[in-house]
Symmetry: D2
Subunit: 382 residues, 4 copies
């Protein structure tokens, strides 16, 4: 049994996770898009898809069924027939979504908020009949945060107890890690990226990973930039445009939130190329796109004898359909890590993130090798 707690449980990604788990359980769909269903991972000791139990919290109303219908009828991302077939499951899921009222008190009284969150988490674990669960942050991106907090676990706990400020995402990460859970930050928010939280995770036997799910443009960058590097072609500029129509797009139309996202996207190329070409990343909110996302990249590069050439890529994907299977993958991989007694940062999960923590490796193919090596090694030493 994997108990999976979704922070942002009523959003498009969470809705797609719920639809997907129900559809897979009912054998209405094939497990396409799930890394953990690759044949090569068959013996890796992952929990069965049927054994994932879902819960979560959201500040928004839990209108999961309505959202699923809209994604089917308006956005044409999900099949209408499929929504019909799993409506019962969606209603059960929606009914259990917690209002996450605690979040509102984060700023006012962090200590109380922490206690409220942990109570909520414990109730969910109890309901699922497990000791430890995995929480995945799918909430809206926060603005960049530059506050200062103690760098050690005890200091941070004292800071919060004393009413010190902490972004909601970090407070939530603290709540999870302190309970020895798995915590994954699928957004560019702070989450568990503070040193003190990593220390806490190690101490409590918790595991964590992040940051910002790699689903589109950055995914392509991490596959293509190594190509230019390996052929000694000099990238002069790499312009990336994103068109987004969903809630994520609306959040990112706020310049502050956009800066968070741009930062998490901005360090990929320098890490892959070894130098820093002109590489702006722009994000545009276009409501008519709905859940569809278009990423257009224009790459100008210099080849032999100064010849200038270009490559352009266009990626048209359904944001939630790209993200949801990764959420399921991460839940299974964290669950597996907890069961095996791993602790702290799971840096071998780098391939899932735009801004992998603890792993300097940005090239996608080498990140994949990192994951496979870890799982294979673990198999050998049961």
């Amino acid at each position: 049994m994997v108990a999976l707690w979704l922070i942002g449980a009523s959003g498009s990604v969470a809705t797609t996770v719920a639809v997907g788990l129900a559809a897979l359980r009912r054998r209405l769909s094939e497990p396409i898009g799930l890394v953990t269903e690759l044949p090569v991972l068959a013996g890796a000791g992952l929990a069965a898809l049927e054994d994932i139990q879902l819960g979560g919290c959201d500040l928004r109303p839990p209108d999961v069924v309505a959202r699923a219908r809209r994604m089917a009828e308006v956005d044409r991302v999900l099949p209408e027939r499929l929504i019909d077939a799993v409506t019962d499951d969606l209603e059960v899921y929606a009914a259990a979504i917690q209002p996450g009222a605690a979040a509102a008190t984060c700023a006012r009284d962090p200590a109380a908020a922490l206690a409220a969150i942990q109570a909520e988490l414990r109730r969910f674990a109890a309901r699922c009949g497990v000791d430890r669960a995995v929480a995945i942050n799918l909430a809206s991106t926060e603005p960049p945060w530059d506050g200062e907090v103690p760098a050690d676990a005890d200091g941070l706990l004292r800071h919060v107890a004393a009413g010190g400020a902490l972004p909601a995402s970090a407070l939530y990460a603290l709540a999870c890690l302190d309970l020895g859970w798995g915590y994954v930050n699928f957004t560019p928010s702070v989450g568990a990226s503070l040193p003190a939280l990593d220390q806490l995770a190690g101490r409590r036997g918790a595991v964590h990973a992040g940051r910002d799910g790699k689903t589109g443009q950055t995914l392509i960058k991490t596959a293509l930039a190594p190509l230019f590097a390996s052929r000694n072609l000099r990238v002069l500029s790499w312009f990336g445009q994103n068109l987004l129509g969903n809630d994520d797009g609306r959040t990112l139309s706020d310049p502050d939130a956009r800066r968070s996202k741009q930062r998490s996207k901005g360090e990929t190329l320098p890490a892959l190329l070894g130098y820093r070409p002109a590489a702006p990343v722009e994000i545009e909110y276009l409501p008519p796109l709905g859940d569809w996302k278009v990423a257009w990249d224009h790459i100008l590069f210099e080849g032999f004898l100064g010849t200038r050439m270009t490559m352009m890529t266009t990626w048209q994907g359904a944001d939630s359909a790209l993200a949801a299977p990764l959420v399921i993958d991460l839940a299974r991989l964290c669950d597996r890590a907890l069961r095996r007694g791993e602790r702290g940062l799971l840096s071998y999960l780098a391939m899932f993130f735009k801004e992998p923590m603890g792993a300097t490796e940005q090239a996608h193919e080498r990140q994949v090798a990192l994951l496979l090596r870890h799982l294979a090694a673990a198999e050998e030493t049961p």
Copy 2:
């Protein structure tokens, strides 16, 4: 001293190699696009760029200077000023190009042709003051060949001595390998791909590699297809269109020659994906493009819950500027292999080819790792 013999010495790629070596020697250009100039290969024991001496043969008139001017003024691939600066070197190079008259007799009298080719090769080696040289096949693509020849070296030598047929590219490969040279097949023609030639190379201490230089569309495929595979996204169709305006394009407008190229491009995806999506590759000859090449790919794939998404890529490159540095790379790497006593097929050169021989690895990033590992290992055991 690396003596480099170009088969197809008057074509665009060879012309660009000649311009490039002259420009690099005169410090008029930076070594961009050369894999062998990557910092990571600094200690690999490669010959200096200044030490490469060029020769070659071609059935066409040796109008290298005129071609270089046309590539500068009409195609705008090469800088006009640069051509001015290296015209003297180009004239020297062009003056030494052999008419390759032997080729004409290939079909009529293979044994005589073989003798004539080898005499020519020996003269070039003597002129350069070396025992062994490297030959690279840049000639026009031959139609597919399905003749039968003995699979062992002795049998093949007897076959030729007895006037048995052999494609010109294979006869040339035989000539080189029999002399203990390095031979690289940068085209989809037969070249050294016959088992008997590999055996001969092993016996004579010759080295060889091929086949068909990976410069554009296939390069991208070998970087992107592993991405889809690693995320368990199912490629439904991958359509590839090539627009070409140079001699290569004209050759490929012949359906027979095109079949050779399509074959060398066709096996990439199944090898990378593990299944065989609809993946036609089309080639169109558009003379106004000159040396520029446009590759457009349309990839339809299925993600989570059957959602269909697409990726499109457009690659606009100068064919010769992409190919020429690889030719130089391959010359240096073969020369290094000969000096170290390697023999036979250099399968670690897979990253340079559309249809790598002896290496089942098609994913570009893993091909790069293969090369780096080989060179690093060699360093350790001098």
Copy 3:
């Protein structure tokens, strides 16, 4: 009352026409994509959408409901909910589709086939309670035809009576025009393009138009090529690639049928530019695309001082959703023409066709002006 007879009544376009008329009648959809619903045509005296009554014939089984479902669930062209809501109407439409058995006898006994077709057409008109109807050819593209037939109406009628050969599409056009109906050829087949048929139409008070509905790539060409012409920019090459996954695509994967289509697409540019650039048009059948169609155009042009520039366009459309409203438009416009006593070729309908008959105007904007001027002039002289 407009009685509309669809030749190819079970195909995707016809199915979409049937779904659309039902949806519009039930106010479930807005009349988007219909030229005849433009506000500027409000006073043009067109029949109401509710007054169109549908019938037709097809050699294929009349599985219209199944096809509509597939277009909704697999192709995601039509909304599933909408199909549910109009299933009854579709069943009624499907039940009345005639097997078009006559077509089979075309080749064997043209005179008998003609009689059978006309009997069928008369039954449909009687059923609708009208004297004259409009027939629109949506059947699969025929291979090019280069037979010779008399150029005058009487000669052609004698030719057929004597068992002379005629392509099925032309025989059908003959059947319609001889009855004084409207006939529209929405395909590149011969249809009513024979001079004798035009003469017959004039004599019988019939009207006709064609040929080959302009729904995608050619539509764009007729908007963009005038741009290059008006700015005196010289188009060097214009390459057009079409990816198609539906029945139309399968038919066109046959080289003969493809030649018909390429011909109807090939004359557009020379007419618009005044010269003949390299302008190949390719068609590729990619079944996974279903009813979706991708057209990619690459335009290389020369500007001031020989500077070479490019434009590329990508068009991703649902073939049937683009064609169906034009079919309805053409039915209404032909019906109006019949009611007003127009006769013969309706050359003012040029904007609907890839290969407009009787109109040398290929520029889309000027074709639109042609239509508007005709309708406005007619308004003034009631």
Copy 4:
């Protein structure tokens, strides 16, 4: 003799005009890209290209030759050989460029600036031996201006005499129009768009036109948007991205100047479609692009039965090579108007501008018709 005065005489567009006129005069190039060289305008009474005499002013140093070389060698927009061949002409042109010092005093003492400008203009006319000349504004885009000035000519003259503020571009327009010259505003700056200036032009027998040369993205919009309108397809969003590397791009990386440009680009679609879809226009300064400009448009539209489709266009052009011939066209057309005694706003020049003044027509094809009709009518009444 057409005396043509360029404001911004050292910039890329002006440099290309100078190179082009010299090349055309010396028969080194064909008159491609010039609207006024279309065969249909052969009898329109335009001055010969050889009769255009160039002058101008610029705040920047008159390094026209260096710029032309850079455009040839680095940007590869102009052919290097051509620059060599016309270097003498460029040096003569550059030597006569005035520092435009007056501009500096615009803000401080508008009346003195006006006098200085007019003295400069008179000297140029005298040097060319003409009474009246044509001035074209190619200077950097000014920030948006929302000052208030009198709406009548006399009031405006008094305003300036009294030291009242006026944007430099408007002061320059005033200087020209007051002298009875032709004045064209090729930028989005204020120029002659003030009502008082139009009145003044009418009174002085001057002519003017503008605003903001239509060279790329807007050009395409004015050809494609009428297509969607004519087919009753509903544009849901039209996103336009511009990548620019030249001085123009640098100027527009300033948010204020960018607003001017976005405004001049923003009204095109609503005028063409009759409604206002989400249609952001973004501009990104990417220095490595040099004089090349990439415009990428993503159009999401709704068709029949709510089907959503997309069109994307990519335009890769050399900014100066697109603009320069239009500058020459406008000079010839204004000269012709002056000679024929036309006065005031030449609204029939709409096809040259992003934001045509006095013409509500935005559809390119109809703008072309407007120009042709005017010139044809004029021919008939000599």
